[in-house]
């Protein structure tokens, strides 16, 4: 169980959601890679990443001299679990998957 307040505050900012979107598309990016395709200063990205890391939404792994950033789904799973029971959750997951597949088909 993590600090829900920190998670909600971290998610309340559009730039931070954009960073999570970017990691969701390409997990394991360095700060340089994240900066290269986002319209944000290096300092701003760095500051937002620190807030996401403090909320456990991003996990940083060191590989040699590089720090790579990974999206951590666990805090979001915890939040979902707070209001969605375990049994419903499996159904919700199945419905979310159905929605994703239908939307993918309609795009093709």
């Amino acid at each position: 169980m993590q600090d829900d307040g920190a998670v909600f505050r971290a998610l309340a900012d559009a730039s931070r959601r954009l960073l999570l979107d970017s990691l969701h598309a390409h997990n394991g990016q360095t700060l340089r890679e994240l900066c290269s395709h986002l319209d944000m200063s290096r300092q701003a990205v760095s500051k937002h990443l620190a807030i996401l890391e403090a909320a456990h939404l991003v996990v940083v792994l060191r590989q040699g001299r590089e720090k790579r950033h990974y999206l951590n789904p666990a805090p979001i799973v915890d939040i979902a679990g707070r209001w969605i029971g375990r049994y419903e959750r499996r159904r919700v997951t199945a419905l979310a998957e159905l929605k994703r597949q239908l939307e993918e088909e309609s795009r093709e």
């Binding site: 169980m1 993590q2 390409h26 997990n27 394991g28 990016q29 360095t30 890679e33 456990h56 996990v59 792994l61 590989q63 790579r68 990974y70 999206l71 951590n72 789904p73 666990a74 799973v77 915890d78 679990g81 375990r86 049994y87 959750r89 499996r90 997951t93 998957e97």
Partner: protein, 150 residues
């Protein structure tokens, strides 16, 4: 280039020994891993076998790569057959479980699944791991493991 990997980190109210047992005992894995038994003697170099919950057929095999009880467990695995039922010829992927004791009987579990074929695989593994790890947390923190959906 980004290193494709799926990462999941969660703080669980348990002890490293209980979490270790939950990851390495087939009798326990079947209670949160959708019926699957994960079996090995967990010596480095030993095989790891995944048994299907319904049929008890071995679906995936791999090798123990690191075992530092109760702190770190790393093994490789890959399916026996592909989606068409043909023998699977792709590469093994690698999963590492890190267990870090925190204060007050909490353990930080960090799963890193890497050596994936490509970035597109991360989403698939996310779909697979997330319910298993959420179930694991409920299994360890109680009150009761998730019953099979009726």
């Amino acid at each position: 280039m980004s290193e494709p990997a799926f990462v999941y980190q969660s703080d669980i109210a348990t002890t490293p020994e209980r979490l270790w047992a939950a990851l390495t005992s087939g009798e326990l894995t079947r209670q949160y891993w959708f019926g699957r038994r994960i079996e090995s003697d967990w010596a480095v170099g030993s095989p790891v076998l995944f048994y299907d919950g319904d049929t008890d057929i071995v679906t995936d095999t791999g090798t123990v790569l690191e075992c530092d009880r109760p702190r770190r467990l790393v093994y490789s695995f890959r399916p026996q057959v592909d989606v068409h039922g043909e023998p699977f010829t792709g590469d093994f992927t690698r999963v590492a479980f890190g267990l870090e004791p925190l204060a007050a009987d909490r353990v930080r579990l960090r799963l890193v699944h890497d050596q994936l074929a490509g970035p597109d695989d991360v989403g698939g593994w996310e779909q697979g791991w997330t319910p298993i790890l959420a179930n694991l947390q409920v299994f360890l923190e109680g009150p009761a493991p998730t019953a099979p959906a009726g």
